[in-house]
Amino acid sequence: MNLLSLALGNLRHRPARSSLTVSAIALGIAAVVALTTIAWGFEASWQKANDARGTDLIVTRTGSQNAMPSPFVGAALLDQLAHYPHVQEVAGLLSEMLSIGEQSPPIFVFGWAYGSYLWDHLKLLQGRWPADRNEPVAVLGVLAAEMLHKSIGDRIELEGQTLQVIGIFQSSALVENGAVLITLDRAQSITDKPNKVNVLNIKMDKTATEADASFVKEQVSKTLPGFAAITSGELVSRNTVVKIAKAMSHVTILIATLVGALVVFNTMLMSINERTREIGVLQALGWPRSRIMYMIICESAMLALLGGLIGIAVGILLAIGLEHTELMRGKIDAIFSIPFCLAVLGLSVFLGVGGGIYPARMAARLSPAQALRHE
């Protein structure tokens, strides 16, 4: 019998304790996986939306940290920005979370400058795009159409205004698939924010370099007090919701690590206490201390590995379940990657080894005579 099968056998002899330990580790790991993938997914889906549009820089208020940057009058800034070198186009955007009808959960409503490049990346699946900047119509993301049970020709109500659904589109960004898209002018009218935008999107021309983008950033900071030009990644990372989601994920990792290590520590300590005579026999048979230590650490690592594998599976299912709840659908896109799962598994094994070291050392330090006398 090799050492690994001996360790496995030891765990099997105490099924209740082993399964409780595995469950505790699995729960902690599941929480880590679910929260982290959702936090990253939330950040990535927003960045993906900005990247898909072809936006190179975003001009926003410097103080804005909320989910939606605070609105400002965009016209004067737009003219100034359009004259910077290598700026191909500047487009205003106004977005809000609004309920469609009386009882439905809020959904993203994007108002995009009519005829701007922002619309170019979308694939129209059915219907048509708005014919002019003031047409009282909406196009729905494919997921939004499904969630709202709306198709071409149906009507939706936004803040008391009735709009006809004239198109259904698909985007490479989940947040856009789950959104209602209207022209900027219509959005300003619906939300009573005449001439205002949340952000101005800048598209640089093809010859623009990073130095050109930096120049625009610098010029905005020098000439437009209270505003900043930032990349989509910077905008998303400044978002309070993203910050909170990430902070929660970090705290969960910390708590799960501590709890996991303590659970393994406790389990292995109790196990060694119960198996003192057994360890004494092994020592009397000539087992070196290092081998006894190795056996105990193997046991704790096995517990943690199994807990980690189950936790990753449960965490993925939990995140997928959350993605499909009515409130969150179309807003988050949990990200699962093999490197992340391997890292979590590594964390789990680390917990097992870390929690098992002290009990293993205790076991190895026992003298055979004392151990054999133990009742």
């Binding site: 103080g63 940290q65 605070s70 009386e102 109500e157 008391g160 309070t240």
Partner: protein, 260 residues
């Protein structure tokens, strides 16, 4: 300079125009009442609210959505309330104003009768909810008797209870507010009538940081009446720097011009 402002409900809870404050032995901390006054001043703001009424049997009504545009200074406050949904309130308007020492004037008109507004009671609930126009003005901060009543806690936040009483007997006899000293924000406001009955309790249930990052504002408020029914008010949208146009309060100004 356009000042950062607190949305309507914060203003409602914090409003005050008084220039002099008579105090007794339990004086309010220096600067607190001035801070409360300053917090509500605004060159223009807009908030959109969803009001859900829950009756004494806990039956919830469908939400009523309204938009409120306001301006407030030491000299004058004025508000425009627009019904958004459902259909019954859509494009029904209420315009109301109050000068520093004057009474509250309030008028209501529907989508088709802009020329024929009717005068309304500022103590009545708006669109059959517990949302009362009189509360918008926070008139009690203007009353001469303001006393500190000790520290309290509302939803886990420490605050100072302040009792406000008018000089003469009014329809409302007393208002007791618990003010968060750090943010000059009333977290709870109890309104008592001339018979000393508690008419309603306004509580800030949820706070969010202002876009300007200059403080906190109410995100969710409950207004409970004496029968156990209450209204939940959710601030779901708005603009802290709303541009008030000359026509925004055009109807109000014409009405006030006529009445003068």
């Amino acid at each position: 300079m356009n000042r950062q402002v607190a949305p309507l409900l914060v203003i409602a809870l914090l409003a005050g125009c008084g220039q002099s404050w008579a105090t007794d032995s339990r004086e309010t901390p220096p600067g607190l009442l001035e801070a409360v006054q300053q917090a509500r001043y605004s060159d223009g703001f807009e908030v959109r609210l969803a009001i859900t009424t829950v009756d004494a049997q806990k039956v919830r009504s469908p939400p009523i959505k309204i938009a409120v545009i306001g301006q407030a200074s030491a000299e004058r406050q004025r508000f425009l309330v627009r019904g958004i949904s459902p259909e019954a309130v859509r494009n029904h308007y209420l315009v109301t104003a109050k000068n520093a020492a004057g009474p509250i004037n309030a008028f209501e008109y529907g989508p088709d009768d802009e020329g024929h507004p009717i005068s309304v009671d500022p103590f009545a609930g708006l669109f059959k909810t517990d949302f009362v126009i009189w509360d918008l003005f926070g008139t009690w901060w203007d009353w001469p008797r303001q006393t500190a009543e000790g520290l309290g806690e509302v939803n886990g936040r420490r605050c100072l209870w302040v009792r406000s009483r008018p000089a003469a007997l009014l329809q409302i006899k007393e208002v007791v507010s618990c003010v968060d000293k750090e943010f000059a924000l009333a977290l709870s406001t109890k309104v008592y009538d001339s018979q000393n009955r508690l008419r309603r309790t306004i509580r800030v249930e949820k706070l969010i940081r202002k876009n300007s990052n200059a403080g906190l504002m109410a995100k969710k408020i409950t207004i409970a009446d004496e029968r156990g029914a209450y209204s939940e008010i959710d601030v779901y949208g708005g603009d802290e720097q709303y541009q008030v146009e000359s026509e925004t309060f055009g109807v109000l100004e014409r009405l006030l011009g006529k009445s003068n």
